[in-house]
Amino acid sequence: MKTKRLICLLLAVLMLAALFTGCAGQKAGKDDKISITMYLWDRSMLKGLTPWLEEQFPDIDFTFVQSFNTMEYYKDLLARGEEIPDIITCRRFSLNDAAPLAEHLMDLSKSEVAGTFYSSYLEVNRETGGAIRWLPMCAEVDCIMANKDLFDQYGIALPTNYTEFVAAIDAFEVVGIKGFQTDWSYDYSCLETMQGCAIPELMSLEGTQWRMEYESETADAQVGLDDTVWPVVFAKYEQFLKDVRFQLGDEELQFSATMEPFFNGKTAMVRNTAALADNVTSERGINCVILPYFGETSEDNWLLTYPMCQLAVSNTVEKDEAKREAVMEILMAIFSEEGQKQVAFGTSVLSYNKEVNITPTKALQYVQDCIESNHLYMRLASTEVFAISQDVGHKMMTGEYDAQAAYDAFNAQITDYKDPDAVEVMFTQKNAYSNDFTEHGSQAASALVNTLCAAFDDQIAIAYSPVASTSIYAGDYTLQQAKWILTARNSIYRGEYTGEEVRRFMDWLVNVKEDGSNPIHHRNLMPVTSGMEYTVTEYERGKFRLEEITIDGKKLDDSATYTLLLVGADTFLEHETFCNCPMPADLKEKRQDYLVDDFSSQECMQEALEKTRQFLEPTKYVTILQGK
């Protein structure tokens, strides 16, 4: 009798315990956020997509890292023993480029999100084994951006075929306006103009056959250029350079140098995207329209397109069912109509997804027939084709190569391409520093900024955000690998500032503005300083308040003067659609010079490392407190 009672009592206690344990477990599970790291091919994704994702998935702890627009970057991560981040993106894509990553990526062919695509578009990304690991974002149109106002002003009709295009250039030349210009220095400009001028050939039966063959090549069986299509491509490019009145020296033109004349009405047409055309139209009041790459007749006109970016998922995600489900939901969100708008800013011409209806923007009004007749060419965009196009293109521009020589050189390189920056070991790094963001910031970012600060003998350096795109590893570094430490498209300035001005700089970079603009909506966007430490309080998730600033443990002297190195991208912070936090004008004015005119941040890095031959020790440059 007693034994029965005892057993009943024990069972009751066990049930209660299980009940409470279950409740406790549920509560714990709810509080445990799933962490997802997403590497962004470009800073522009921080503009709309990432805040939108954080809003859509408040229960997911995102880490967004600005990475590079090349598969080589991810290959290097693997070579360093890292795992592929949960979600990666890259705009420059070809199947053969992506092949070495395949075994680290999920096959998405059976996923729900893949089902939202028009199957014919996904076929391009299908591996021979049937797997589909990369999903394309909506298409960007990158063709000829024309200042319609200028055409109208001079009574020049918008061209409808190649002959008219050349005639328009000539007509503008007559009135002292550059008919067509572009930032020839960039590899993508070379690649796109080279392919753009011969799209009918590249889209011919032989052209598409060759491309399929090339994109299926393996490391052991490299595919050279086709001898039917490609000689024509180089011949047409040679003619194109002549027709656009290319001048020696233009090959060094960069974005700003190209766009300034365009904005000022000195250039009628440039190579650029529909997105930019819309942007210029709305921001500068210049009526910009997109024109196609012209063929002999209007039926031969083609638009050069490429996906905004391609997205893949690490197969490590599959190990955690909850995480996998979360990632699948994120993908569904990204590829939804709303998600793609966040990426494309409403300027896309074509959606690859059945359920997404993106209306072509006004800038595309003159290429509607191309769109309707499906004359949409997707650029061939492997890493080597970018690099070789730049090399061969520049040599054609400088007259070193004629069409045949260009063909030969291109053909020779494409079967045995080696990035010169990725061959020679530049230095051997002794200590490794993680890029994981802690309450004292990122060690890798600190080491990077400390290196820049020391190399250029500045007292203080401030990077607008953690400009490190990867951890720093112990071991050999080539120049290319070293360049991947610092995020792309930063500017570097120097100036002399008082302690009070330094404080205002930090205030600009950290504090939420009166109108609600928030430069740091995520803690891993916290500025990185060298020669100076600071403390912030996170008083609300994603909102920070600058507290104390010290130098060598002493309070910043407001009256003292310091040489200050500034690293970052103004536009990102200042742009209305990004952070909308303009730099105080007086501070901007005092910002004396680009470190070197047209000296890119990457080149700056190279110069610094040539001096230090090492990424220097990191410091605890920031302390993040939680509070109110």
Binding site: K110, V113, G115, F117, Y118, S120, L205, L350, I371, H375
Partner: protein, 833 residues
């Protein structure tokens, strides 16, 4: 408890059986429905698939028919008319002329690029017909059917292939299923599950990838999903059931026979199985109803039965209670039930006051009240012992109580049972009044004691009589024999002979009277020992022949010899039986008559026993029938002049009968007056081994005893004299002692081995024969003390006397009157050792 457990187990087994049977039935029905439904669905969807295939193949066929006309016709308008006519027939959406590079021109003159991907080389270069899903911006999804064509020109557009397109919605029509009220979905999917043709019902409108949908619904295991993926990849057909949003669906899949498409048919199971489900659910409801009704009936029956059982039990309990109450009032037992934990009295029978003089209430208040019943100095208190009694055990005590009111002395038997009643330990005390029994027992014990005393007196009397008669008889017979040996005068000799005969008769009388008395008092025991059974008959025959020495009676002996004559038998008693019967035969057969003595052997009850049958027939005077009835009665003699003629006690046949009974045998008699009698004795005997049988000792006449020194202990001078005379006649040297002391002393005085044997009287003054024997045997200084033969020679003639002699350490026993042959044998056997 055990029965309940069995019933519970049976109920469980029955329930499990019913559940199993129900489940098996349900499973069987479900499986049957599934098989029927999927077979039905497969047929339906196969037709849809076939329609789709027909659509494709018909289109190719039609285009092949059109192509020669198109290539031959140069007039564009005629071509336009022809194609428009064809469109009316075939219902395609658009007609395309396709160039080598994949550009197209429609009939209406629209140009564009048709993205045929890797199919373009197949179409143009390999001249293969193709079907491909393609996209033209701002157009619905289209399915392109293209065939290679001879190079042609339409409105200046050079083409190498022609194609017709269908909007996917047209393909959907082919896959449409009219059945199932629009709840059937059909899809054409790629092997990786991506949907190519979507004819999904409302339930399935969110399906983007079939596998992703299945994975999300989590209705299939990983293995099932992998198997399905493999089936799609390898173009296999099949069916299964999956669940989505809490609803089950049938899935039928089979390859589309073109491209690598798989055609899927999906219908909610409840739609397909509607009628079957109704039937099944009705069946289940009916069966369940019947089962429930049955179960309820059984339950009600069981409840009713239990109620009746409980009622019966209640009645029984009430009856028992009543019975117990009445009993407990009227019986001489007081019952108490005591809780083992606290010795609280839970029940005490109401007769306690009557039986022991303590009120029921007092005992109910405190059980220790019952301890006041015993005498103050009584050894152990029963209540103190209770804790040592375990459940299932009982213990008893006899107690003398004092009635608390009358002061009467009582005898009680207290029995305590320890029992476990539903986990609680109880003591049940039964105080049983045995005062009456005790008194009756005491009276009985007194009576027994008296009887035993009487018996002892009788035995003593018999012993004394036997001893005291035999002692003078020994002298009379002894001296008569001695006198006869001194060659008396004929008159004296005649007198001596008559004295001898009278003495023998007297001795026989004495022996018979003593024997019958001893038999009645149970003193006579049947003592079997290993013997050769043939010797018993031989001896009896020899004795009988002695009786016949001066008679003219013909004696025939027919003594069989068994294969194995060694048995366990009391040879003395058998011989006595035979000698009695044979003696009577001699006695009652007149001269000129005949006596026949037969011995035969038959197998016994088993192979360890035999039955010996002795038959004595004579031609004597015989007996009348009435006497034959009483022949075995004591003192029975036929009322005629035979008694005067034939001397006897009338005890012989009674003793014979008693001996035969003692030995487990039977005796019968057949007789006819004036013709003779026949006595038959049958005795069962156990066989024994030959080695255990003592061989017959030698004959006394053959023994030379001269020179042997004998120490004779005899207090009676006459008996001593007789013995000395007779022993010395044998050549022995006799030293006489008159009591035990003297005997021991004489033995001690003489050197060792002086005497070859000692004849020891028992009843002697100072020290009797037993004590003297013990004294001699325990002499440490004499090496011959333990080995010298000591033979009892006494008037104590009974078997227990023989045993007493042997127990005292003697080697043998001779009873008086002494028979010299026995004396000689005793000397020869023992002195020789």
């Amino acid at each position: 408890m055990k029965k309940r457990l069995v019933i519970l187990l049976l109920a469980l087994v029955l329930t499990a059986g019913v559940v199993w049977a129900g489940s098996a039935y349900f499973g069987f029905v479900s499986q049957t429905i599934y098989e029927e439904s999927t077979a039905h669905l497969t047929e339906i969807f196969h037709q849809a698939n076939q329609t789709l295939y027909n659509l494709v193949s018909v289109n190719w066929s039609r285009m092949r028919m059109w192509e020669p006309y198109l290539s031959k016709t140069e007039n564009d308008d005629e071509i336009t008319t022809y194609v428009n006519h064809a469109r009316e027939e075939s219902h395609f959406t658009d007609f395309y002329f396709i160039s080598r590079d994949g550009n197209y021109l429609t009939l209406e003159g629209q140009q564009g690029y048709l993205d045929l991907r890797e199919k373009l080389p197949a179409l143009i270069l390999d001249q293969q017909p193709i079907v491909v899903n393609s996209v033209v911006p701002d157009q619905p999804k289209i399915m392109v059917f293209a065939i290679p064509a001879a190079k042609g020109n339409y409105r200046g557009f050079e083409y190498e292939a022609i194609a017709i397109t269908f909007n996917n919605s047209d393909m959907v029509d082919a896959l449409k299923i009219s059945a199932f009220n629009g709840q059937a979905s059909t899809f054409a999917v790629l092997p990786d599950g991506r949907v190519v043709v979507d004819n999904g019902s409302q339930d399935m409108n969110d399906m983007r990838n079939f596998f992703a949908m299945l994975e999300k619904s989590e209705s299939l295991t990983e293995k099932e999903l992998a198997d399905l993926e493999e089936a799609f990849g390898t173009g296999k057909s099949g069916n299964l059931v999956f669940e989505k949003d809490g609803r089950d669906y049938y899935l039928i899949y089979e390859p589309a026979n073109f491209q690598d498409w798989i055609v899927l048919g999906i219908v909610p199971t409840y739609v397909v199985n509607a009628s079957m489900n109704k039937l099944q659910s009705t069946t289940i409801i009916v069966v369940s109803g019947i089962a429930i009704a049955l179960a309820m009936t059984i339950l009600l029956l069981v409840v009713q039965q239990n109620r009746q059982k409980l009622k019966r039990k209640d009645n029984e309990l009430l009856a028992r209670d009543e019975l117990f109450s009445k009993l407990s009032i009227n019986v001489d037992d007081v019952f108490l039930m005591v809780d083992a934990r606290n010795l609280r009295v839970e029940y005490v029978s109401p007769n306690i006051e009557k039986l022991v003089g303590i009120s029921e209430e007092r005992v109910l208040r405190d059980v220790h009240e019952i301890e006041h019943l015993i005498r103050p100095n009584e050894s152990e208190l029963i209540l103190d012992q209770l804790s040592t009694i375990l459940p299932g055990e009982q213990r008893e005590w006899d107690r003398e109580y004092i009635h608390q009111k009358t002061g009467e002395e009582l005898w009680f038997r207290v029995v305590v049972f320890c029992t476990d009643i539903q986990g609680e330990k109880k003591y049940i005390l039964d105080l049983s009044d045995r005062t009456k029994d005790k008194k009756i027992n005491q009276r009985l014990e007194d009576a027994v004691h008296t009887a035993e005393n009487a018996n002892r007196a009788k035995t003593t009397f018999l012993n004394n009589m036997s001893h005291d008669i035999r002692t003078p008889m020994n002298a009379i017979i002894g001296f008569t024999n001695i006198a006869m040996k001194h060659d008396p005068k004929p008159e004296v000799k005649n007198c001596l002979r008559k004295i001898s005969e009278s003495s023998d008769h007297l001795l026989t009388l004495i022996n018979d009277v003593l024997d019958i008395s001893r038999i009645e008092s149970g003193k006579i025991k049947f003592i079997p020992s290993p013997v050769d059974i043939t010797e018993v008959a031989d001896t009896a025959m020899s004795i009988t022949q002695g009786f016949l020495s001066n008679r003219n009676v013909e004696f025939h002996a027919n003594l069989a010899v068994p294969a194995h004559p060694y048995v366990l038998a009391d040879a003395v008693r058998i011989r006595e039986v035979l000698v009695n019967i044979l003696g009577n035969a001699v006695k009652f057969t007149e001269d000129g008559g005949s006596i026949t003595f037969e011995a035969s052997y038959a197998p016994g009850a088993d192979d360890r026993h035999i039955t010996v049958c002795y038959r004595v027939t004579d031609t004597g005077i015989g007996m009348n029938e009435e006497f034959v009835q009483h022949i075995f009665d004591e003192f029975s003699q036929e009322e005629n002049d035979a008694r005067t003629q034939y001397k006897g006690t009338g005890l012989g046949m009674a003793i014979t009968r008693r001996y035969v009974d003692l030995m487990g045998g039977t005796i019968s008699v057949e007789s006819k007056k004036g013709e003779g009698s026949a006595f038959t004795v049958e005795l069962p005997l156990e066989l024994t081994e030959e080695s255990k049988v003592q061989k017959r000792s030698c004959h006394a006449a053959e023994v030379d005893l001269s020179g042997i020194k004998i120490l004779l202990a005899e207090d009676n001078d006459l008996n001593a004299e007789i013995a000395i005379v007779q022993l010395e006649e044998l050549g022995t040297q006799v030293t006489r002692t008159s009591d035990g002391d003297e005997t021991v002393e004489t033995f001690a005085k003489n050197p060792p081995d002086t005497f070859a044997i000692i004849f020891m009287d028992i009843m002697m003054p100072k020290m009797n024969g037993y004590e003297a024997t013990e004294a001699i045997r325990t002499m440490q200084s004499r090496p011959d003390a333990r080995r010298i033969p000591i033979i009892a020679m006494t008037a104590n003639a009974f078997a227990e006397d023989v045993q007493a002699s042997l127990d005292a350490g003697m080697n043998g026993h001779l009873s008086k009157p002494i028979v010299m042959d026995e004396v000689i044998k005793a000397i020869a056997r023992n002195a020789r050792q």
